[in-house]
């Protein structure tokens, strides 16, 4: 190896490591404070890591605060949204890809147009409507607005369009109903698209703050991001340890899932970029 190349590699390695450290800084600080004893949090001297592991912050966050409730709400909302999204999107995508009918182009056009609408744009009218029928501050308020997913329909349609239609014709000859074809043949075939979509949807809604902040004021319904703000605003400044433990607990599920299935995660979230 030439000295020039060695120098180049060392330099790029050093810069990449410094960058990685900067990326990790808030994670390290969060985990470190979560494990630090109270007195070590409140010192003015730099101490990156705790001197001993203190579990009491996690115990406190899990037993004396509503964090478990927030996590449960998060699971209910995220699973509810995903289930309805798939229930609505897959039959529509299948019909768009493999059936000929009047209005097909129009509906696909609607799907493409809907892709252009960010959720923020629809928030005010949906809030008004939900207030009118009195379902603000319910799980339904958190789930319903996300049921129609143009991105999901688009993704499934593109995927199913590549499946040869003879496959479905064969199933028809065997006497399967169209509904059975959608769920017993098309959906299992579209599993790769479903995985990417699920990762995208779960991440987006577990992390969302905008809509939960608008649709709910009841802390019993708070999703994790909304909940941690309740917790932060209630504590008077001496519960930093448990607060960081709560932040770590809320971040952990997705981060762990990402570390376990990196390739799928990256693909799912990169595909989500199409949605804008």
């Amino acid at each position: 190896m030439t000295p020039g190349r060695l120098f180049g590699r060392s330099l790029s390695l050093a810069l990449l490591l410094i960058g990685a450290l900067a990326i990790l800084l808030p994670f390290i600080w969060m985990v470190s404070l979560a494990f630090k004893p109270q007195d070590e949090i409140f010192t003015a001297t730099i101490q990156l890591l705790p001197s001993r592991i203190e579990w009491s912050n996690f115990t406190k966050a899990l037993t004396e605060t509503d964090v478990p409730r927030y996590l449960l709400n998060g699971v209910i909302v995220v699973v509810g949204i995903l289930a309805f999204q798939i229930l609505f999107a897959v039959p529509c995508a299948f019909a768009l890809a493999h059936r000929r009918f009047a209005g097909r182009t129009l509906i696909f056009g609607l799907v493409l147009a809907a892709l252009l609408v960010p959720f923020h744009v629809t928030a005010i009218p949906i809030f008004l409507g939900f207030a009118q029928i009195g379902i603000l501050n319910t799980y339904w308020a958190l789930i319903l607005p996300f049921v129609p997913t143009a991105f999901g329909i688009f993704l499934f349609r593109q995927f199913l369009a590549q499946v040869p239609s003879e496959l479905f014709d064969a199933a028809r000859v065997d006497g399967l109903s169209e509904t059975a074809i959608v769920w017993r043949i098309a959906f299992p075939l579209a599993m790769p698209a479903a995985t990417a979509f699920a990762i995208f949807s779960i991440t987006a809604h577990w992390n969302d703050l905008f809509w939960p902040l608008i649709a709910t004021t009841d802390s019993d319904l708070a999703t994790p991001p909304r909940g941690i703000l309740f917790f932060r605003d209630e504590e008077s400044g001496d519960d930093v340890g448990p607060l960081m433990a709560a932040a770590a607990l809320i971040t952990a599920p997705l981060v762990i899932a990402f570390l376990l299935a990196q390739r799928k995660f990256t693909r799912g979230l990169a595909a989500g970029g199409l949605k804008g």
């Binding site: 180049g8 590699r9 790029s12 960058g19 990685a20 900067a22 990326i23 990790l24 800084l25 808030p26 994670f27 600080w29 404070l33 609505f88 999107a89 039959p91 529509c92 299948f94 019909a95 768009l96 059936r99 609607l110 799907v111 147009a113 809907a114 252009l116 923020h120 629809t122 005010i124 009218p125 949906i126 809030f127 008004l128 049921v147 129609p148 143009a150 169209e178 959608v182 577990w206 992390n207 703050l209 905008f210 994790p224 991001p225 941690i228 703000l229 932060r232 930093v240 960081m244 709560a246 770590a248 809320i250 997705l254 899932a257 990402f258 990196q262 995660f265 979230l269 970029g273 804008g276």
Partner: protein, 300 residues
């Protein structure tokens, strides 16, 4: 159902498959867009029994008032900082990690995961962590500054720097995403092109980059630019968590102003006008993105 003629049965099946999703889209996407557009020309307030038509007054207020202009210029400044930094750093990290694949593939993979971590992490929870990193006395940043003999700063409550602080967090969150897109672009460059460049005398790193890598990454770069802009324009979570637009509206942004005016002050009409302006910007960006994606397909 068996008794129905074939055509009618087919029509029923189609409605059954496509109907629910179409209806849901009309109800939760297209109807709200229409309503928000109409509301933006009224003085409607949540809970009020009536409203009046006020023409363009809401828009004049947004572009004419000091507060409205503040939200717009803050958002533009934020976007103007985040785009070049997040795209530039994303490209540099991708180039570094791509080359590292040749001599330390495992380390390269580990670093890629590290850089992508903020994309998967819950931004609100991480903002709470950032709040402690930047805490005036207990935060690691100020402690390090003081340790080095510098002056501690109020990163989140000093009017002159708060927007830059938020921009840094925005960059922190976006670099990994851009890196992944650039890495995909780099992998797609056929190695023969580098051999050809070498034959043509472009053997050095620098000339290899400018003759092969950069032109081949063109479409990717455009895509990354637009997507970064789209995401930066939507900045909300960090503002809501860390500053709530303050101090003195120094970090007020478009989406946060939309939220505050609409759902804290209940001025539905004015908030709808903010929504429409936000929508117009995002619409332009997303249409650009669509065109780039379409073009990229032809490149392959």
């Amino acid at each position: 159902m068996r008794r129905l003629p074939l055509a009618a049965r087919d029509a029923l099946t189609n409605t059954w498959l496509v109907g629910p999703a179409t209806l849901a889209m009309l109800m939760f996407i297209f109807l709200p867009v229409l309503i928000v557009a109409v509301l933006s020309f009224t003085d409607y307030q949540f809970g009020a029994r009536s409203f009046g038509w006020i023409g363009l007054e809401n828009y004049e207020k947004l572009f004419g008032s000091a507060l409205g202009r503040r939200a717009i210029t803050n958002t533009l400044l934020y976007v103007a900082i985040v785009i070049p930094a997040a795209v530039g750093l994303g490209l540099l990290v991708a180039l570094g990690l791509h080359r590292m694949m040749d001599w330390a593939p495992q380390l390269s993979n580990v670093l890629r995961s590290v850089y992508f971590l903020p994309v998967a992490a819950t931004l609100v929870a991480m903002s709470v962590a950032w709040q402690m990193v930047l805490h005036p006395s207990l935060g690691v940043v100020n402690q390090t500054l003081v340790g080095l003999g510098g002056e501690p700063r109020n990163w989140l409550s000093d009017r002159s720097i708060v927007l830059y602080t938020l921009a840094v967090i925005g960059i922190w969150q976006t670099v990994g995403y851009n890196m992944v897109l650039f890495l995909a672009g780099l992998v797609a460059i056929p190695p023969e092109l580098y051999d050809a460049a070498e034959v043509d005398g472009a053997g050095g790193n620098w000339s290899r980059f400018w003759t092969v890598t950069w032109p081949m990454l063109g479409p990717t770069t455009l895509f990354v630019l637009v997507i970064t802009a789209t995401n930066a324009f939507r900045v909300f979570e960090t503002v809501a968590t860390l500053t709530q637009g303050g101090p003195a509206f120094a970090s007020d942004t478009l989406v946060y102003a939309l939220y505050r005016e609409g759902f804290v002050y209940f001025k539905a009409g004015y908030a709808s006008a903010i929504t429409m302006v936000f929508f117009a910007v995002l619409l332009t960006l997303t249409l650009m993105q669509f065109r780039i994606v379409e073009r990229r397909v032809h490149y392959r």
